[in-house]
């Protein structure tokens, strides 16, 4: 019915606002944007920030989030609501970036498993932290380990539980869902209240790892080798010690130009040669940019801070 009323609506007097010209402009803009995206997808090598597998993984996670939200309400016409919900979720910048970071983290974990036999869940360092003499550290490491096992399972299924989102993203997802569902179903309000009440940021995997990094004295300084720590703990350690957001750090690890990764390692205090060795573990085929030996830790931190503006 919607398009019928569209057909019968009066045509605006300004010729530039004619519906056909608007549609023409929108189509052209879409085509112009899709060009670089297609080029990027076709040209990039296997280990990079965007490729078909990453796109599929991100799409899967967003669909799964929409599915979890729809499950909470009784709605007669699910399909169109779910589609609009996906559209709303994809429009959240932070959520896209977060899903991309998770997908990249998981791909790296899988690659380390095949190439270096590093288990994506139970790594040597995590194992030693579980056995830490401080029972607080031990139980925290155990909780992180369990959460990592859940994460591995979810990533294999291209899923992302709502409870794993940070409070900011959870809140943004709730707002997007409210936009789509509040008008369509009566029980959304109760569902939202239920979801918010059940949410506990501290139980999420990323929160547990961040807390573990902040308390565990058993994590070597400045950085443990990635093959000991495993990708998850390694990323959280680097994020915690550099003060950089973890999502950005995760993307830096997958970025073949390696600049951000090398500088972050340097800013954390890793010696230049060691930083290069660690970076090559993450990107074996990458070409190292020159000049890291000239860069002090203070300088590295300054450059990172300046680049974020």
């Amino acid at each position: 019915m919607a398009f019928m009323t569209g057909l019968r609506a009066p045509i605006p007097p300004d010729p530039t606002e004619h519906p056909l010209r608007v549609a023409l402009a929108r189509g052209d803009a879409l085509r112009a944007r899709s060009g670089p995206a297609l080029q990027h997808l076709l040209a990039t090598q296997e280990h990079s920030l965007i490729n078909e597998a990453v796109v599929a993984q991100v799409g899967g996670m967003v669909r799964d989030l929409a599915h979890q939200l729809i499950e909470q309400v009784s709605i007669s016409d699910r399909e169109p609501a779910q589609d609009r919900l996906i559209e709303g979720l994809v429009a959240i910048d932070g959520l896209r970036a977060h899903c991309q970071a998770l997908a990249l983290e998981w791909r790296l974990a899988v690659r380390l498993e095949t190439e270096m036999a590093v288990d994506p869940v139970l790594t040597p360092l995590l194992q030693s932290l579980v056995a830490d003499t401080d029972p607080g550290v031990g139980s925290l490491a155990m909780a992180a380990l369990t959460a990592q096992a859940r994460f591995a399972q979810a990533q294999r299924r291209m899923q992302l539980p709502l409870a794993e989102l940070s409070a900011e993203l959870f809140h943004a997802v709730m707002l997007a869902a409210r936009e789509v569902l509040a008008g369509n179903c009566k029980d959304w309000e109760q569902a939202e209240a239920r979801l918010r009440a059940a949410y506990d940021e501290g139980a999420g995997r990323l929160s547990l790892f961040a807390r573990l990094v902040s308390v565990a004295t058993g994590i070597p300084a400045p950085m443990p080798p990635i093959e000991d720590a495993g990708v998850a703990l390694w990323l959280s350690t680097m994020a915690g010690r550099s003060g950089e957001p973890r999502d950005r750090t995760a993307c830096a690890v997958a970025d073949p130009s390696l600049g951000r990764l090398l500088l972050t390692l340097r800013a954390v205090g890793v010696a230049p040669a060691d930083a290069e060795r660690q970076a090559l573990r993450a990107q074996p085929d990458a070409v190292l940019p020159r000049g890291l030996h000239d860069v002090g830790t203070r300088e590295a931190a300054q450059w990172l801070a300046a680049a974020q503006k």
């Binding site: 139980s139 925290l140 909780a143 409870a163 409070a167 900011e168 959870f170 809140h171 918010r196 949410y199 506990d200 940021e201 501290g202 139980a203 999420g204 929160s207 547990l208 961040a210 807390r211 902040s214 308390v215 003060g243 000239d294 002090g296 801070a305």
Partner: protein, 455 residues
């Protein structure tokens, strides 16, 4: 999923107006060190942010936080659960306090202090790309001869005018190797550090450098040579202090803006740096005031206007001014009761200054939950006011030194300049009175200002 309900180290409750309605230790003390009061607005900046987010989202948050206590840096992990009445429960899962001055975090504080000092260097020079000095500027008396040497033979590499102690090479080295190098300057007894900030966009240093020299040591004022010195140098009290106050106030104001994130969201660690800048700036300002005062009382022409004044009134005013600081440290400040007078000959303003110094010291160096008394007395032809505390007291050797210039009795890092009591005793003498101390270790200290009585 139940892991985060682990036992909390400490708890607090924030009401719907953002006030910390309840808090157990050590949270309550941290609230006080951050300038808050019990039952007042939650004053710990990063906790306030976590609580307001939890309330805005209606979600249980779990996050790390940093805070600066009185003498320690606190890192911890907080959980905030919004409650139905619009408030928030605060639970602390981890609380780690490190004394300031001991750790890696402090090297960051030191770094910020250094950055602040670099904004107000005692010597700065503009260098060309080959590190030759183009122009220089110095505000330190002991660098005057360096400035003179540069003026006499300008345009040479900066390393010609002073000695880089880590290097035996006379030629300028690569600037990165010289950045932060210790240097010795002829004519100055202080140890200096040289900092090079490269200019130029493509290649650092292509546009030359800014060289700054700074020292961790405060300059010891020249011994007796007061008149010779005053000819050569601008007077800090009359000329420099007003000129310095304005830029430092601006640094403090801007840093405060950054610290409280008024201009927008900011990584917490940078807000922490800004907080350190505020502290360092305020310290610097207090130091300038002290030094300006010192210069005043040491000038031969320093005059006081003697008048009939009420020591009781001065004591009550001083207690009023310092009441909130005492409250922050849970110290009971007991002024002379209203109606009690003791008339003396002096200058009210100066007596008030002395009393604020004495009471301020008593508050700063007494244990929490203790008392500080201010009492009036009359002995023969002298009227007196005594400030007594329950601090650790002073040994006899310390009592002999306590009024000396720059005497800190082994304390450091608490923002004092070691000038307060020296200035107070000089003021007392100018008022034709005396300032004395009676104390024994463990017995507290009694500082007494004696002035001629006025009947």
């Amino acid at each position: 999923m139940t892991f985060s309900t682990a036992p909390y180290i400490t708890r607090g409750r924030v009401d719907s107006d953002g006030r910390l309605a309840e808090a157990s230790e050590p949270l309550a003390s941290l609230q006080a060190s951050c300038g808050g009061v019990s039952g007042g607005a939650l004053a710990v900046p990063e906790l306030r942010e976590i609580v307001s987010k939890a309330k805005a989202y209606g979600l249980k948050l779990s996050r790390p936080f940093n805070a600066l206590g009185d003498d320690s840096r606190i890192t911890g992990w907080a959980e905030a659960t919004p409650t139905e009445d619009g408030g928030c429960e605060l639970g602390i899962l981890r609380w780690h306090a490190e004394p300031l001055g001991s750790s890696e975090a402090d090297s960051q504080v030191a770094h910020v202090r250094r950055e602040l000092n670099r904004a107000f260097p005692e010597f700065s020079a503009r260098l060309d790309a080959s590190q030759n000095i183009l122009t220089s500027h110095s505000s330190a008396p002991d660098l005057v001869s360096l400035a003179r040497r540069i003026m006499q033979r300008p345009g040479r590499p900066w390393t010609d005018y002073l000695r880089v102690t880590t290097s035996t090479n006379d030629q300028p080295l690569h600037w990165r190797l010289l950045d932060g190098a210790p240097v010795e300057v002829e004519g100055s007894a202080r140890r200096w550090t040289a900092w090079l900030d490269p200019l130029g966009t493509i290649e650092p240093g292509a546009g030359g450098f800014v060289l700054t020299l700074m020292s961790d040591e405060v300059m010891t004022p020249p011994a007796v040579d007061e008149e010779a010195g005053s000819e050569l140098l601008p007077s800090l009290g009359e000329e420099l202090a007003p000129a310095l106050r304005r830029p430092i106030n601006r640094v403090i104001a801007h840093a405060e803006t950054i610290r409280t994130k008024l201009a927008g969201p900011l990584a917490d660690i940078y807000a922490g740096y800004a907080g350190d800048m505020v502290d360092a700036g305020e310290h610097l300002l207090a130091l300038i005031e002290d030094i300006a005062d010192l210069e005043g009382v040491e000038t031969a022409g320093f005059k006081v206007e003697l008048d009939r004044i009420d020591l009781g009134e001065a004591a009550r005013q001083a207690c009023g001014i310092l009441g909130s600081r005492a409250q922050e440290r849970s110290i009971a400040l007991v002024p002379p009761p209203p109606g009690e007078h003791q008339w003396a000959r002096g200058e009210f303003r100066r007596v008030l200054q002395i009393l604020i110094n004495l009471i301020g010291n008593a508050i700063a160096y007494s244990p929490e939950e203790s008392q500080v008394w201010v009492r009036l007395d009359r002995e023969g032809r002298e009227a007196s006011v005594t400030v007594a505390d329950q601090g650790r007291g002073l040994s006899e050797a310390e009592q002999l030194r306590v009024f000396d210039k720059f005497e800190r009795l082994g304390r450091s890092g608490d923002g004092g300049s070691g000038l307060g009591l020296y200035i107070s005793s000089r003021l007392a003498r100018a008022l034709e009175g005396t300032l004395t101390v009676e104390s024994a270790p463990g017995q507290g200290a009694r500082f007494r200002l004696l002035l001629p009585a006025f009947d």
